[in-house]
Symmetry: C2
Amino acid sequence: MVSTAVRFLSSIAAEASSLCAEPPVAVAFAPAEDQAFMRLALDEARRGDYPFGAVIVRDDKVIARGRNLGKVHDDPTAHAEMTAIRRCVADHGSAVLRGSTLYATGEPCPMCMGAIIWCHVGRLVFAAATKINQIMVPCADIAANAPFASITIKAGVLADEAMKLFDN
Amino acid sequence: MVSTAVRFLSSIAAEASSLCAEPPVAVAFAPAEDQAFMRLALDEARRGDYPFGAVIVRDDKVIARGRNLGKVHDDPTAHAEMTAIRRCVADHGSAVLRGSTLYATGEPCPMCMGAIIWCHVGRLVFAAATKINQIMVPCADIAANAPFASITIKAGVLADEAMKLFDN
Protein backbone atom coordinates (compact mmCIF):
# COMPACT_ATOMS: atom_id res chain seq x y z
CA MET A 1 0.00 0.00 0.00
CA VAL A 2 2.84 2.29 0.87
CA SER A 3 4.59 1.78 -2.44
CA THR A 4 1.32 2.64 -4.18
CA ALA A 5 1.14 5.76 -2.06
CA VAL A 6 4.68 6.70 -3.03
CA ARG A 7 3.91 6.23 -6.71
CA PHE A 8 0.82 8.39 -6.29
CA LEU A 9 2.86 11.02 -4.50
CA SER A 10 5.53 10.96 -7.16
CA SER A 11 2.91 11.69 -9.77
CA ILE A 12 1.66 14.57 -7.65
CA ALA A 13 5.19 15.90 -7.34
CA ALA A 14 5.72 15.75 -11.07
CA GLU A 15 2.41 17.44 -11.67
CA ALA A 16 3.09 20.09 -9.05
CA SER A 17 6.44 21.03 -10.53
CA SER A 18 4.83 21.41 -13.92
CA LEU A 19 2.13 23.64 -12.46
CA CYS A 20 4.56 26.25 -11.15
CA ALA A 21 5.19 28.76 -13.89
CA GLU A 22 7.44 30.88 -11.69
CA PRO A 23 10.86 29.64 -10.56
CA PRO A 24 11.00 28.46 -6.94
CA VAL A 25 11.74 31.10 -4.34
CA ALA A 26 13.10 28.80 -1.66
CA VAL A 27 16.52 27.20 -1.63
CA ALA A 28 16.50 23.70 -3.07
CA PHE A 29 17.70 21.46 -0.23
CA ALA A 30 19.54 18.25 -0.95
CA PRO A 31 17.56 15.08 -0.19
CA ALA A 32 19.57 14.40 2.99
CA GLU A 33 18.58 17.79 4.37
CA ASP A 34 14.97 17.23 3.38
CA GLN A 35 15.02 13.94 5.27
CA ALA A 36 16.62 15.52 8.33
CA PHE A 37 13.97 18.23 8.55
CA MET A 38 11.21 15.72 7.84
CA ARG A 39 12.43 13.64 10.78
CA LEU A 40 11.83 16.67 12.99
CA ALA A 41 8.32 16.94 11.59
CA LEU A 42 7.83 13.22 12.30
CA ASP A 43 8.98 13.83 15.90
CA GLU A 44 6.25 16.47 16.18
CA ALA A 45 3.70 14.10 14.66
CA ARG A 46 4.44 11.44 17.31
CA ARG A 47 3.39 13.96 19.98
CA GLY A 48 0.25 15.17 18.18
CA ASP A 49 -3.39 14.46 18.99
CA TYR A 50 -3.46 12.95 15.53
CA PRO A 51 -0.12 11.87 13.98
CA PHE A 52 0.59 14.98 11.95
CA GLY A 53 3.60 17.25 12.38
CA ALA A 54 5.23 20.18 10.62
CA VAL A 55 8.34 22.33 10.80
CA ILE A 56 9.13 25.58 9.02
CA VAL A 57 12.71 26.16 7.87
CA ARG A 58 14.48 29.31 6.79
CA ASP A 59 18.19 29.63 6.03
CA ASP A 60 18.72 26.02 7.12
CA LYS A 61 17.24 26.69 10.56
CA VAL A 62 13.94 25.58 12.05
CA ILE A 63 11.95 28.72 12.90
CA ALA A 64 8.68 27.06 13.96
CA ARG A 65 7.27 23.64 14.81
CA GLY A 66 3.72 22.43 15.04
CA ARG A 67 1.71 19.29 15.68
CA ASN A 68 -1.98 18.51 15.61
CA LEU A 69 -3.58 19.99 18.73
CA GLY A 70 -7.20 19.54 17.72
CA LYS A 71 -8.23 17.67 20.87
CA VAL A 72 -6.07 19.35 23.48
CA HIS A 73 -7.06 22.83 22.28
CA ASP A 74 -10.62 21.83 21.30
CA ASP A 75 -9.87 23.49 17.97
CA PRO A 76 -10.65 21.60 14.74
CA THR A 77 -8.42 24.04 12.83
CA ALA A 78 -5.32 23.24 14.91
CA HIS A 79 -3.69 21.10 12.26
CA ALA A 80 0.07 20.73 12.41
CA GLU A 81 0.74 23.15 9.57
CA MET A 82 -1.64 25.78 10.98
CA THR A 83 -0.10 25.40 14.44
CA ALA A 84 3.40 25.89 13.01
CA ILE A 85 2.32 28.91 10.96
CA ARG A 86 0.52 30.53 13.91
CA ARG A 87 3.56 30.01 16.13
CA CYS A 88 5.85 31.41 13.46
CA VAL A 89 3.69 34.52 13.08
CA ALA A 90 3.47 34.96 16.85
CA ASP A 91 7.21 34.51 17.40
CA HIS A 92 8.70 36.15 14.33
CA GLY A 93 5.99 37.99 12.39
CA SER A 94 4.85 36.96 8.95
CA ALA A 95 7.72 38.26 6.79
CA VAL A 96 10.01 35.31 7.58
CA LEU A 97 7.47 32.91 6.10
CA ARG A 98 7.91 34.41 2.64
CA GLY A 99 10.18 32.01 0.73
CA SER A 100 10.53 29.61 3.66
CA THR A 101 10.21 25.82 3.40
CA LEU A 102 7.45 23.99 5.24
CA TYR A 103 7.84 20.27 5.98
CA ALA A 104 4.65 18.38 6.74
CA THR A 105 4.21 14.69 7.48
CA GLY A 106 0.82 14.69 5.75
CA GLU A 107 -0.28 16.30 2.51
CA PRO A 108 -1.76 19.65 3.58
CA CYS A 109 -5.54 19.90 3.40
CA PRO A 110 -7.08 22.90 1.56
CA MET A 111 -7.22 24.87 4.82
CA CYS A 112 -3.53 24.39 5.52
CA MET A 113 -2.52 24.74 1.88
CA GLY A 114 -4.48 27.97 1.67
CA ALA A 115 -2.61 29.29 4.70
CA ILE A 116 0.70 28.17 3.17
CA ILE A 117 -0.17 30.06 -0.02
CA TRP A 118 -1.32 33.22 1.77
CA CYS A 119 1.93 33.25 3.76
CA HIS A 120 3.96 32.90 0.55
CA VAL A 121 5.84 29.85 1.74
CA GLY A 122 8.20 29.15 -1.15
CA ARG A 123 8.58 25.41 -0.88
CA LEU A 124 6.43 22.63 0.52
CA VAL A 125 7.83 19.20 1.28
CA PHE A 126 5.44 16.56 2.51
CA ALA A 127 5.71 12.89 3.31
CA ALA A 128 2.45 11.07 2.65
CA ALA A 129 -1.13 11.66 1.63
CA THR A 130 -3.70 10.14 3.96
CA LYS A 131 -7.17 9.56 2.62
CA ILE A 132 -9.28 8.94 5.72
CA ASN A 133 -11.62 11.79 6.64
CA GLN A 134 -9.75 14.22 4.44
CA ILE A 135 -10.93 16.96 2.14
CA MET A 136 -9.94 15.33 -1.13
CA VAL A 137 -8.46 18.28 -2.97
CA PRO A 138 -4.76 17.86 -3.81
CA CYS A 139 -2.56 20.63 -2.47
CA ALA A 140 -1.11 21.00 -5.97
CA ASP A 141 -4.58 21.99 -7.20
CA ILE A 142 -4.78 24.75 -4.60
CA ALA A 143 -1.33 26.00 -5.62
CA ALA A 144 -2.18 25.87 -9.31
CA ASN A 145 -5.17 28.12 -8.71
CA ALA A 146 -3.21 30.81 -6.86
CA PRO A 147 -1.58 32.75 -9.70
CA PHE A 148 -0.26 35.41 -7.33
CA ALA A 149 1.91 32.92 -5.40
CA SER A 150 4.93 30.84 -6.36
CA ILE A 151 5.57 27.57 -4.60
CA THR A 152 7.24 24.27 -5.41
CA ILE A 153 5.98 21.02 -3.96
CA LYS A 154 7.96 17.88 -3.22
CA ALA A 155 6.10 14.78 -2.07
CA GLY A 156 7.09 11.38 -0.74
CA VAL A 157 9.98 12.26 1.60
CA LEU A 158 9.97 9.55 4.33
CA ALA A 159 6.46 8.60 3.26
CA ASP A 160 6.75 5.10 4.75
CA GLU A 161 7.65 6.45 8.17
CA ALA A 162 4.76 8.91 8.08
CA MET A 163 2.28 6.20 7.10
CA LYS A 164 3.51 3.93 9.91
CA LEU A 165 2.37 6.50 12.45
CA PHE A 166 -1.19 5.58 11.57
CA ASP A 167 -0.65 1.91 12.48
CA ASN A 168 -0.71 2.67 16.21
CA MET B 1 -20.38 43.68 -13.37
CA VAL B 2 -22.36 43.10 -10.23
CA SER B 3 -25.27 41.48 -12.03
CA THR B 4 -22.80 39.15 -13.73
CA ALA B 5 -21.37 38.33 -10.34
CA VAL B 6 -24.84 37.58 -8.99
CA ARG B 7 -25.60 35.29 -11.92
CA PHE B 8 -22.29 33.53 -11.32
CA LEU B 9 -23.07 33.22 -7.64
CA SER B 10 -26.54 31.87 -8.36
CA SER B 11 -25.03 29.14 -10.48
CA ILE B 12 -22.64 28.30 -7.65
CA ALA B 13 -25.55 28.14 -5.22
CA ALA B 14 -27.50 25.82 -7.48
CA GLU B 15 -24.45 23.64 -7.95
CA ALA B 16 -23.66 23.63 -4.24
CA SER B 17 -27.14 22.50 -3.26
CA SER B 18 -26.93 19.66 -5.75
CA LEU B 19 -23.56 18.62 -4.35
CA CYS B 20 -24.83 18.02 -0.84
CA ALA B 21 -26.01 14.44 -0.59
CA GLU B 22 -26.91 14.80 3.08
CA PRO B 23 -29.78 17.00 4.23
CA PRO B 24 -28.73 20.35 5.74
CA VAL B 25 -28.01 20.38 9.45
CA ALA B 26 -28.63 24.06 10.05
CA VAL B 27 -32.01 25.76 10.28
CA ALA B 28 -33.10 27.33 6.99
CA PHE B 29 -33.45 31.03 7.74
CA ALA B 30 -35.90 33.17 5.82
CA PRO B 31 -34.29 35.65 3.40
CA ALA B 32 -35.02 38.61 5.69
CA GLU B 33 -33.07 36.96 8.48
CA ASP B 34 -30.23 36.13 6.10
CA GLN B 35 -30.10 39.77 5.06
CA ALA B 36 -30.14 40.96 8.67
CA PHE B 37 -27.22 38.76 9.64
CA MET B 38 -25.37 39.63 6.43
CA ARG B 39 -25.69 43.31 7.35
CA LEU B 40 -23.83 42.55 10.56
CA ALA B 41 -21.11 40.86 8.52
CA LEU B 42 -20.98 43.92 6.26
CA ASP B 43 -20.56 46.09 9.36
CA GLU B 44 -17.56 43.98 10.30
CA ALA B 45 -16.19 44.23 6.76
CA ARG B 46 -16.27 48.03 6.92
CA ARG B 47 -13.91 47.88 9.91
CA GLY B 48 -11.52 45.32 8.42
CA ASP B 49 -8.02 45.77 7.04
CA TYR B 50 -9.51 44.50 3.82
CA PRO B 51 -13.29 44.75 3.39
CA PHE B 52 -14.24 41.26 4.48
CA GLY B 53 -16.46 40.41 7.44
CA ALA B 54 -18.14 37.36 8.94
CA VAL B 55 -20.57 36.44 11.69
CA ILE B 56 -21.46 33.02 13.08
CA VAL B 57 -25.05 32.41 14.10
CA ARG B 58 -26.57 29.69 16.22
CA ASP B 59 -30.21 29.51 17.39
CA ASP B 60 -30.84 32.93 15.82
CA LYS B 61 -28.07 34.56 17.87
CA VAL B 62 -24.68 35.84 16.81
CA ILE B 63 -22.05 33.85 18.71
CA ALA B 64 -18.93 35.25 17.00
CA ARG B 65 -17.87 38.04 14.70
CA GLY B 66 -14.74 38.53 12.66
CA ARG B 67 -13.16 40.88 10.17
CA ASN B 68 -9.94 40.80 8.19
CA LEU B 69 -7.07 41.60 10.55
CA GLY B 70 -4.23 40.69 8.23
CA LYS B 71 -2.39 43.98 8.56
CA VAL B 72 -3.09 44.88 12.17
CA HIS B 73 -2.09 41.41 13.37
CA ASP B 74 0.62 40.92 10.74
CA ASP B 75 -1.07 37.58 10.05
CA PRO B 76 -1.89 36.63 6.44
CA THR B 77 -4.25 33.94 7.75
CA ALA B 78 -6.41 36.42 9.70
CA HIS B 79 -9.24 36.40 7.18
CA ALA B 80 -12.68 37.37 8.46
CA GLU B 81 -13.98 33.80 8.58
CA MET B 82 -10.87 32.51 10.36
CA THR B 83 -11.01 35.36 12.84
CA ALA B 84 -14.66 34.59 13.61
CA ILE B 85 -13.97 30.87 13.97
CA ARG B 86 -10.96 31.42 16.24
CA ARG B 87 -12.98 33.77 18.44
CA CYS B 88 -15.86 31.32 18.57
CA VAL B 89 -13.54 28.49 19.61
CA ALA B 90 -11.84 30.70 22.20
CA ASP B 91 -15.11 32.00 23.66
CA HIS B 92 -17.37 28.96 23.42
CA GLY B 93 -15.34 25.90 22.41
CA SER B 94 -15.78 24.14 19.10
CA ALA B 95 -19.01 22.19 19.73
CA VAL B 96 -21.26 25.20 19.10
CA LEU B 97 -19.88 25.52 15.57
CA ARG B 98 -21.37 22.18 14.57
CA GLY B 99 -24.54 22.97 12.62
CA SER B 100 -24.13 26.73 12.96
CA THR B 101 -24.54 29.22 10.11
CA LEU B 102 -21.61 31.34 8.97
CA TYR B 103 -22.28 34.57 7.08
CA ALA B 104 -19.38 35.94 5.05
CA THR B 105 -19.29 39.02 2.85
CA GLY B 106 -16.85 37.31 0.46
CA GLU B 107 -16.82 33.79 -0.90
CA PRO B 108 -14.54 31.87 1.48
CA CYS B 109 -11.12 30.96 0.10
CA PRO B 110 -9.94 27.33 0.39
CA MET B 111 -8.26 28.10 3.72
CA CYS B 112 -11.43 29.50 5.24
CA MET B 113 -13.70 26.94 3.58
CA GLY B 114 -11.47 24.17 4.89
CA ALA B 115 -11.81 25.59 8.40
CA ILE B 116 -15.59 25.87 7.94
CA ILE B 117 -15.72 22.21 6.88
CA TRP B 118 -13.48 20.98 9.71
CA CYS B 119 -15.69 22.82 12.22
CA HIS B 120 -18.80 21.21 10.74
CA VAL B 121 -20.55 24.51 10.13
CA GLY B 122 -23.92 23.43 8.75
CA ARG B 123 -24.75 26.35 6.51
CA LEU B 124 -22.69 28.96 4.70
CA VAL B 125 -24.23 32.16 3.39
CA PHE B 126 -21.99 34.51 1.46
CA ALA B 127 -22.52 37.73 -0.44
CA ALA B 128 -20.09 38.08 -3.31
CA ALA B 129 -17.11 36.39 -4.92
CA THR B 130 -14.12 38.64 -5.45
CA LYS B 131 -11.57 37.58 -8.00
CA ILE B 132 -8.58 39.79 -7.30
CA ASN B 133 -5.64 38.01 -5.68
CA GLN B 134 -7.80 35.07 -4.69
CA ILE B 135 -7.17 31.37 -4.74
CA MET B 136 -9.56 30.47 -7.53
CA VAL B 137 -11.14 27.35 -6.11
CA PRO B 138 -14.91 27.66 -5.52
CA CYS B 139 -15.95 26.93 -1.96
CA ALA B 140 -18.54 24.52 -3.36
CA ASP B 141 -15.69 22.43 -4.79
CA ILE B 142 -14.08 22.18 -1.36
CA ALA B 143 -17.42 21.15 0.18
CA ALA B 144 -18.07 18.60 -2.58
CA ASN B 145 -14.76 16.91 -1.80
CA ALA B 146 -15.43 16.56 1.93
CA PRO B 147 -17.69 13.51 2.08
CA PHE B 148 -17.56 13.41 5.88
CA ALA B 149 -19.20 16.84 6.23
CA SER B 150 -22.64 18.17 5.38
CA ILE B 151 -23.08 21.81 4.50
CA THR B 152 -25.43 23.88 2.39
CA ILE B 153 -24.25 27.01 0.61
CA LYS B 154 -26.27 30.07 -0.28
CA ALA B 155 -24.62 32.77 -2.38
CA GLY B 156 -25.54 36.28 -3.47
CA VAL B 157 -27.16 37.70 -0.31
CA LEU B 158 -26.55 41.48 -0.43
CA ALA B 159 -23.90 40.89 -3.08
CA ASP B 160 -24.15 44.46 -4.43
CA GLU B 161 -23.46 45.95 -1.00
CA ALA B 162 -20.47 43.67 -0.48
CA MET B 163 -19.02 44.57 -3.88
CA LYS B 164 -19.42 48.30 -3.19
CA LEU B 165 -17.00 47.98 -0.27
CA PHE B 166 -14.24 47.48 -2.84
CA ASP B 167 -14.97 50.80 -4.52
CA ASN B 168 -13.36 52.78 -1.71
